[in-house]
Symmetry: C2
Subunit: 344 residues, 2 copies
DNA sequence: TTAATTTGCGCAAAGGTTTGCACTAATATA
DNA sequence: TATATTAGTGCAAACCTTTGCGCAAATTAA
């Protein structure tokens, strides 16, 4: 059976105050004698004392837990980042309350409200992104928070991001450099910062190489496998089929692969692919995937580091950090070199 | 700014008790007049009232959160199950505190202790499995709990499992049926229920077909990619190389693939593979993977359902449910048919 | 020996909720 | 008219901690 401070106090004949101070290691500050300290400590051990975090949190207005809100924890990218965050948070003395929004803005609002109720000391949010009022609220109340992977242009928040524009530009330019001109992009959730940036990079790369952007080639509306599948089907059945597709997430890629093989096409030979997000499986696919790799470890660690700094700062200093990480193009074999054909 | 019951009481001129009863919907039971109710509700709205879950939890001895302890949340299998659990728990009014143990038994003990401190109403644990005393403790104290994916033979707990023995037997027999006789297995964490069961299924299948088990072919010690890589390297360099490898987890499989391609071998042609755990990417691999698929959705949902039942039961009834789900063999192309060669 | 200081610890309030019990005013019953 | 019910609220304790302040005993200084 677990006991409380009062039990130890009774057992040792000392007061609750003294017991509290000892179990919290404040013996120096309050000048508790070594004798008393040892007595209490062994009693605590004997009686199997376990602090009640609820009571402590109530009194201290500090719960030592942080709220993580993530769009889809089964997405490999988010799953990995979550693990990093959990590890790092734990080793800093914080627990993680994990909330999955399934990319629903209503769910996001509700979950944040819930986390607020639970008295989390701060938030790491990978927002859905189509609405920001509730986030702004948090900001106004000075809740420690960092936005991860996605942010809002209009909001001055702590955030750690990947340079989506550059990643997208690089991927697109890679295709162009290999002779592709009919390049499609399958986007994730509409009207979000991330999607906008990725689209911007794609368009800019095309423009910089004097390729006219074809609006038929810009498709997609969310990050699920189905979206990748449907849009790829659509693209493959266009009268002028693109020679390359840029899939902007892990799961979209899976859907695209499914559609491509269903149509009995060969990757690279018949259709080229570049993916945003590099999977563990990418090197071993039928056609090893050329992909944009995001620095996941760093993203997770950085987010926690920033959040802890925010939690431990006094609220008055308004310095927010916006950290932008560089993604990296990993070249494998899913893109054909069309220049060769031209030359020969 | 968020307010508390006392603020609403002051604002409306009513007592804290009444406010509490109204915001909790106990107006019938306590016969609060509609007038009072409306007054309080609109005041609550106006003052932006948010219940303090810490205080409530303290008073009620109920936190409406459940502790999830998982070995590695970045493993696709666990990530997926976690998502299901989170969704289902949330829709039942519970939050999830997620703890990652990285397969460390010490971490597991520590995290459980932490969750106990936080006053979780119950546990869903995917235990490391090499030690059970701390779990037994929980059981003795009648904490609501369900073990997921892995259990202990010696402990009578709620648990939802996959029939590892059968999955393993099926996989092995599939290989045998296609003419393989030199079959290796790469196991996960040693001395755990899951590993023991998988090994047992493997051995039994061999024995049932009069194939002598070769201890050189039984390798592996944990679930990481590195383990898969190292052990596969080892197997491939044996003087009598196995013709097939049974990899017992997603991540082990990734490691195995890496090793195989590094040795410039072709899957199926040079070496066959069957995997435990079916990945989204499995169909699109260079050699589409024949795999044992676990019913992940059901596992997650069932675990929550069992836990909630346990939480809501009175502690005296000791009925524990042990639910064993059947895995399924998904045949693709990573196994060669050696019978054909023999016949021709 | 007396006064001043230090040592070692306890009192009690505070943090926000919930709920059994009691209390007042209004209404119904006799 | 006097009494019993009922409707509608409030009091205060309890959940478990933490911590500013204060107090007695022990020690030191004068």
């Amino acid at each position: 059976m677990t006991s409380k401070l009062a039990d130890i106090a009774e057992y040792t004949g000392l007061s609750i105050s003294t017991v509290s101070r000892v179990v919290n290691g404040h013996t120096r500050k309050y000048r508790i004698s070594d004798k008393t300290k040892d007595l209490i400590l062994s009693a605590a051990n004997e009686l199997n004392y376990r602090p009640n975090a609820l009571a402590r949190g109530l009194r201290l207005k500090k719960s030592h837990s942080i709220g993580l809100v993530v769009p889809d924890i089964s997405n490999p990218f988010f799953a990995f980042v979550t693990r990093i965050i959990q590890n790092y948070a734990h080793s800093s003395g914080y627990s993680l309350i994990v909330c999955n929004t399934d990319e629903s803005i209503d769910s996001e609002k509700e979950q944040i409200e819930l986390l607020l109720s639970k008295g989390v000391d701060g938030f790491i949010i990978m927002p859905v992104g189509i609405e920001s009022a509730h986030i702004e609220e948090l900001l106004k109340e000075n809740y420690p928070m960092v936005l991860l992977d996605r942010c809002f242009e209009s909001l001055n928040t702590n955030s750690v991001l990947v340079d989506n524009y550059m990643g997208s530009y690089t991927a697109t330019e890679h295709l162009i450099s290999l002779g592709h001109r009919d390049i499609a992009i399958i986007l994730g959730l509409k009207n979000t910062y991330t999607t906008n940036e990725r689209l911007r990079g794609y368009k800019k790369a095309l423009e910089d190489h004097n390729i006219i952007v074809n609006s038929n080639y810009i498709v997609g509306k969310d990050y699920r496998i189905e979206n990748g599948y449907i849009e790829t089907k659509f693209l493959l059945n266009l009268e002028t089929r693109p020679s390359a597709i840029f899939t902007t997430s892990d799961l979209i890629t899976v859907g695209a692969l499914k559609a491509i093989y269903e149509e009995n096409l060969k990757i690279s030979e018949d259709i080229s692919i570049v993916a945003f997000d590099d999977s563990e499986f990418a090197p071993f696919l039928k056609s090893p995937l050329t992909a944009i790799r995001q620095p996941k470890e760093i993203m997770g660690e950085m987010a926690v580091k920033l959040l802890l700094a925010d939690i431990n700062s006094n609220k008055s200093d308004l310095e927010k950090s916006k950290i932008v990480l560089k993604p990296k193009l990993i070249i494998r074999e899913s893109v054909s070199d069309k220049r060769v054909l031209a030359v020969i």
